[in-house]
Symmetry: none
Subunit: 406 residues, 2 copies
């Protein structure tokens, strides 16, 4: 059973307001086994709204409309829906009273236009709004449940949880929650991830499989209505990906690294040149990281690499700052000077300037020093500056993750 979502409001199409309703409502609906099949955004335009709502009523058993319930002339949702469903708009005295009460409490003068919000299509149910004057409305029309909600998130969210969810639960009692699982993979391109995962799910046609490539990671997503099939698919995916999968669900690489360090009772340090503090920033975004994160250096200049980390001037002169020996010396220097168990170092050319004949923009060396060994990787990350930094930081964190396990 699927849902169509119609988000109205010109601000959503002008580029100034991010449409967060889709994410919020999708996550709520997933708890009931419902999915948004289509989402349409339109401006405050009566003709377009009429057309979009009419088409949705032909397709979906549940139509949710956000916005356009305010008191101003561009708020036309309730009129359009009443017209399409052939209902009169009647003034609801209890809604009018609660609006008056709200203004009284705030000692504000109430414009007459505000009563537009007390108009309710005949037969509709009022969904109370504790955070604004416009109530939500729910209306059954020819086997379609139409739900109208106010646009501001701080009004919509509590209304959704208090009124809409119970209503939907009654409407779709037989629905089964969607089992949606996400797995995060680092160190492999999307096409290789697919080559590993797709074959092991052959024959599981009741499990929907999808991929999403992000800088430095690939997400594998499965959706099914059968939890046992989800378990089986997850078991196979985990086996296929092995240690290249770094986590499942709402988890980030930095969270995994902090958790694994904590569990192992180990500490880390960072020595960053081209990533410029991003690795330390990501680690310290995690609450509790102060226990495992000892110290970070951002050594952009050669002098700082020598003064702060003890990189020999001779090595810098001979191999250049962006080189395997410098990455190694930075990691080992940071480990020794911080007293941390593991230290990671990054040196590279973020661009767009700084390239030489032998060393192109995007070249980066990442080194991880531990008590056993120092591992250095060379990568060529041809991205814009910020994506380059992100990608390099992801590689560095992934190498730390792999080093902790040893």
């Amino acid at each position: 059973m699927n849902v169509e979502l119609i988000t109205t409001g010109s601000e959503l199409l002008l580029g100034f307001t991010l449409n967060t309703h889709v994410n919020y409502i999708a996550r709520q609906l997933a708890r009931l086994g419902l999915r948004i099949e289509r989402q349409t955004a339109i401006g405050d335009d009566r003709a377009a709204m009429r057309q979009v709502i009419a088409a949705a009523l032909q397709r979906a058993p549940i139509v949710i409309i956000t916005g356009g319930l305010g008191p101003t002339s561009d708020d036309v949702t309730r009129e359009v829906v009443a017209e399409l469903a052939g209902r009169k708009l009647l003034r609801d005295e209890s809604v009018a009273e609660s609006i008056r009460e709200r203004f009284r409490k705030r000692n504000r003068t109430m414009p007459d236009s505000i009563y537009a919000q007390a108009m309710v299509p005949e037969g509709a149910r009022v969904l109370p709004n504790h955070n604004g004057t416009a109530p939500g409305l729910a209306l059954s029309h020819e086997n379609v449940l139409i739900i109208m909600l106010p646009g501001p998130p701080r009004e919509l969210h509590p209304m959704f949880e208090e009124s809409v969810m119970p209503l939907l639960k009654k409407t779709v009692p037989a629905a089964r929650a969607l089992d949606c699982r996400v797995f995060h993979v680092a160190g492999l391109p999307e096409s290789v991830v697919e080559e590993k995962v797709a074959p092991v799910l052959t024959g599981m046609s009741d499990v929907e499989l999808g991929y999403c490539a992000r800088p430095g990671e690939v997400e594998v997503r499965i959706i099914t209505v059968h939890a046992d099939r989800g378990d089986e698919a997850e078991r196979r995916i985990r086996a296929a990906l092995g240690h290249d999968m770094f986590g499942a669900g709402d988890v980030t690489m930095e969270q995994v690294v902090v958790e694994q360090l904590t569990a192992a009772g180990k500490t880390m340090a960072t020595a960053e040149s081209c990533t410029g503090g991003l690795i330390a920033h990501r680690i310290t975004n995690i609450s509790g990281s102060s226990v495992v994160f000892r110290q970070g250096w951002v050594t952009y200049s050669n002098e700082a690499k020598t003064d702060q980390l003890g990189v020999p001037v001779r090595v810098l002169d001979q191999d250049g700052a962006v080189s395997e020996p410098v990455a190694r010396a930075m990691a080992e220097g940071a480990r020794q000077r911080s007293g941390a168990d593991v230290a990671v170092a990054v040196t590279g050319i973020a661009g767009p300037t700084g390239a030489t004949a032998e060393k192109p923009v995007g070249l980066v060396y990442v080194a991880v020093a531990s008590s056993e060994e120092t591992v250095v990787q060379r990568h060529l990350l041809m991205f814009d500056r910020e994506t380059f930094k992100w990608f390099a930081s992801q590689t560095a964190l992934d190498m730390v993750r792999r080093a902790i396990r040893k």
Copy 2:
């Protein structure tokens, strides 16, 4: 002349990925006087995609489709469009070669499936992708311009600016651009900004005025169709805000700081506790920052503050790590040890844990040391951990900006 935007990808409807394409594309189009009239999001479903694209082709002269151009089996955009426009899909050898080249440079094995991205509908123009393997495509069909773009923002954005904007400029030469200007203010709350700006624009009813509060800054926005009125409004706004306005247009605080340091021939250093590297990360996001950024420390622990920055153990014991004297000692130590002209230090409690009876979560001290003086500010920033870090870094950068001018 209006545009329909169709965003594809199941992740957009499952609640895991925020749809940022609408905002980005709307802002680009506004520069040409174009507006998005309708935006529809659908999953990776061939039938739904076919229906939505076919309907859009009947309504709009320009249809932009994002996503579904990747190499995996759920990427069907180019097939659906070719089918609707009655074109064959032909392999474009120059695209195939540039994909091969990309893999060669990265020393990666190339799966055969990747060649799906070299398939181009007959008569379509290829929009090069410098940040991924899937090129964009543009196709004219029965007076409709169809533009297909890859889903990842870091691929879509440069492609939009390099290829789509010039194409649209040729298609809609007569459109009149909206004059939209943004001014960035730091150090003042939104209400104070409004009190300063609103009165000076009284009587300019042809200039639309708006505000947007973001962590650590307020944006003032004006929109008009008359460039001369935009100039007049801008002159008044600049006079009203003075030095609290740190920039106009697409500019960030870190960019302004790097530019002003460069212009003044000065250098800076950072000593970060609770911001954990974020200030250094923001500075090093700016190309050319290596000239002005000497060195950064992330000193989370007390030992690191003493070892690396020379903060006296006595001061740490007496006043605690989150205190005015420690912030001051960190900034002065960083300035002295790095040899930079200006050093900024931050120490605070990001939370959610770490508070004491006298020191609540959100307490932060920011110090800036220069040749003339050391200035310390105390703030109480009651936000979640990441917003706290951002806000503190913004305050620190703003203090550096103000210190450079002296």
